[in-house]
C-alpha cells in the first residue's frame, strides 16, 4: 500500500497551480458571469495545453487515459482558483458517457460539453458555450436545447432549464460518468476550501485590531484550526474514492468535502468581516460557488443515504 500522490501527480497539480496563478482567473470569472466567456475560454485552452482536458479521454481519441486520481488532482486546483466553465461536464463526465470522435475535440480543448443528469443535475451549466449538449435519461442519451435561463447563487455558473431533443443512443458507461461528476465536484470543493483557508490565514496575519494581528487571538485561531482539520480529513476520502470508485466512498468524499468547504467559506467570511461581504473582494466568488457545488451532483442528504446503504 502506498496511500500518497506520486511525485508526478504532485508536479502536475503544481503546474496547473502555476499556470492559474499567472492569469487573472477572478477577472475571467466575472466576465464569464457577465456573458463574456472570452477570457475564460483562453484559460481553457491554456489548461488544454497542459493536458487537463485530455485526462479522462482514451488514447484512441488522442487522450491521456489518466486515472481518476489524476482527475481529482486537477480538479482540486481548478476549484482552488475558482475557474469558470463547464469543466466537470466536459472533462470528468463526457469521456465516460461517450465512446466517440467527439472526445478528440474534448482532448484538444476545442469541444465543451453541458450535461443534464436527472434527477441530480436537473439544470444545464453553461449551455450557451457548449458544443455538446447531452441529457442523460437512465441509460439513454438525448440532445437538449436550453430554454429558460436561471440565475445561480454563484453568478459564474450560468444555468438554464432545458427542452429534451432527439435521442442519441445508449450511454457508454452511465454509472462511471455519474461517479466521475460527483468526484470532480468534490475535488473542486476541497480546492475552494483550501483557497478560503489560505486567504483567511493570510488576512488574519496582517489585519490588526486592538493593536494586534487578529490571528493572535484564540477566538480566530480556533476557528481556522477547525477548518484546517476538516480539510485535512476530507482529502484522504477524496483520494480513496478515486482509487476505489466505490459509490460509498465517492459519496463520503462529496459529503466531507462539502462540509469542509462550507465551513471554510463561513469561517473565511467571519474572519474577513465586512470586506468579505463585498462583491468586489474575491472571497465571495468562492463562498457562493461552494454553496452551489454543495447541492450539485447529489445533495448531502442523498449522498449520506448512499453511505448508509439505502
Amino acid at each position: 500500500m502506498r496511500f500518497a500522490l506520486s511525485p508526478e501527480q504532485t508536479g502536475f497539480g503544481a503546474s496547473i497551480n502555476a499556470l492559474l496563478s499567472d492569469v487573472d482567473v477572478d477577472a475571467a470569472a466575472r466576465a464569464w458571469a457577465a456573458g463574456e466567456p472570452g477570457p475564460g475560454l483562453k484559460i481553457w485552452r491554456g489548461l488544454a495545453e497542459l493536458g487537463v482536458t485530455a485526462l479522462a479521454v482514451p488514447e484512441r481519441f488522442d487522450g491521456l487515459a489518466a486515472t481518476p486520481v489524476d482527475v481529482v488532482v486537477a480538479f482540486e486546483q481548478l476549484g482552488y482558483h475558482a475557474i469558470p466553465g463547464p469543466w466537470v461536464d466536459t472533462v470528468a463526465v463526457l469521456p465516460a458517457l461517450l465512446d466517440d470522435e467527439v472526445l478528440a475535440g474534448v482532448a484538444a480543448g476545442e469541444t465543451l460539453a453541458s450535461i443534464v443528469f436527472a434527477p441530480h443535475v436537473p439544470f444545464a451549466l453553461d449551455a450557451e458555450v457548449a458544443h455538446a449538449r447531452i441529457l442523460v435519461d437512465g441509460n439513454v442519451l438525448h440532445a437538449f436545447e436550453p430554454s429558460r435561463s436561471l440565475s445561480s447563487v454563484d453568478p459564474v455558473r450560468r444555468l438554464s432549464e432545458v427542452t429534451t431533443g432527439e435521442q442519441m443512443g445508449p450511454a457508454h458507461d452511465v454509472a462511471s460518468a455519474f461517479e466521475s461528476g460527483v468526484l470532480a465536484t468534490a475535488a473542486q470543493l476541497l480546492g475552494a476550501g483550501r483557497w478560503l483557508l489560505d486567504t483567511s490565514v493570510a488576512y488574519a496575519k496582517q489585519r490588526k485590531q486592538y493593536g494586534k494581528e487578529i490571528g493572535q487571538y484564540q477566538a480566530v485561531k480556533h476557528l481556522l484550526a477547525d477548518v484546517a482539520t476538516r480539510l485535512e480529513f476530507a482529502r484522504p476520502l477524496l483520494h480513496a474514492a478515486a482509487v476505489t470508485m466505490a459509490p460509498r466512498d465517492v459519496s463520503a468524499a462529496k459529503v466531507a468535502a462539502g462540509q469542509a468547504a462550507y465551513l471554510a467559506a463561513r469561517t473565511g467570511l467571519q474572519v474577513h468581516g465586512a470586506i468579505g461581504y463585498t462583491a468586489e473582494y474575491p472571497l465571495g466568488l468562492r463562498l457562493t460557488k461552494v454553496r452551489a457545488l454543495v447541492a450539485a451532483w447529489g445533495t448531502a442528504a442523498w449522498h449520506r443515504g448512499r453511505v448508509l446503504g439505502r
Binding site: 502506498r2 490565514v201 493572535q216
Partner: protein, 376 residues
Amino acid sequence: MDLDLDEDAARFRDEARAWLKDNVPDQPLASFDTVEGFAQHQEWEAKLADARWSVVSWPAEFGGRDASLLHWVLFEEEYYASGAPGRVNQNGIFMLAPTLFSHGTPEQRQRILPPMARSEQVWAQAWSEPEAGSDIAALRSTAKRADGGWVLSGQKTWSSRAAFADNAFGLFRSDPEGKRHKGLTYFMFPLRAAGVRVRPIPQLDGEPGFAEIFLDDVFVPDEDVIGEPHEGWRVAMTTANNERGLSLRSPGRFLAAADRLVAEWSRTRDPALAERVADAWIGARAYQLYTFGTVTRLAEGGQLGPESSVNKLFWSQLDVALHETALDLLGPEAETDTAWTGGWLFSLAGPIYGGTDQIQRNTVAERLLGLPRGDR
C-alpha cells in the same frame, strides 16, 4: 496511489483475524479500573503476549514481531473489529516504550520491556499536577540529587491506571534554577514503594480510572532516568507525539464502532438520525484513510509534526459524536448500562487528556497555519 495489501500484509492480517476469532473472550471483561477487571486484563495481556500479539510493533527480542507501521495499523483494525478487551497497559506499551526505544539505554530496555509486554508490570502516566494541567511546564514536583540517584517529592494527579499499576513515569524539576521547559528530568518510579502514597479517584463511571500520587522523598536510582538529566522535556515530547498522534487512538477503534452504529441504525432506519449516523461513518473512514496516509508518509521518512494535533482534534470529536449518536439511537435504553453508555463516558475524556482540544487548536493554528503566537 493505492490501497492494496501485498501478500505479506494480507497474510499478517489474516493470521491476526484468525487468532482473535479463536481467542477473544465471549463475555466482556470487567472494567480494568476494578480489582477484578485489572487482574482479568492482565491475564488477557499474558495470553496475547504468549501468541506474540501484545506488542506487534516492537522488535522480536522484546516479544514483538518487528511489525511495520502498516502491519501495526492492520492489527489494530482487526483487534477492535473483533471486540477484544481494552489495553490495560497502553500507557506503558504506547507511551513509555516508544520513549525507551528513542532515548532509553539497552539496559533499561532489557529490564523494562519484557515484563511490560506481558503486563506483569503495568504502567501509569504521571504528567499532570494540581497546578500543571495543560501547562505541564508549570510543574512543581522536584528531584534532588542523592548518592547514586535522585530523591523525588511532590504531587501528581489524574494519573491514569495509577490505582492498580506497579510503576509510573513523568517529569520532575531537577534544576531548581531551570525555568519552564528547562531543568526537567524524565523518571520512571515505583508506585508501591516507601514514601509513595496513591489515592485513587473515582471517575464519572464510579471506578478509579485515575489517581493522585503523593511522593515524599522517594529514592530513584540513576538507572531509572530516561535520557540526560535536565533534558526531560525533549524526551517527553517523543511520548506526547505518540499519544497525540498515531498510537493511542488506533484507527480500528472508530471504524469498528461506526460499523456497529450503522448496523444498529439499520434496524429502524430512523430518518431523523440518518445524517449523524452517516457522518460518524464518514468520519471513521476518513480517520482510517488519514492514518494510511500518515503511515505512507512516515515509511518514506516523514515526521509526525503538528499533524498529530490535527489528528487528535479530529478523533476526539469524532469519538464523542459517534457515541452521542448511538445513545440517541438507543432512546430510553441509553440510560441503562449499555456498552455504548460506557463508551460515551469514556469518549468525553478524549477532548481533555493528552492536551485539550483548545491546546491542540493553538498548535494547529501556530505550527501548521503559521499564525502568530499570542497570549494564552
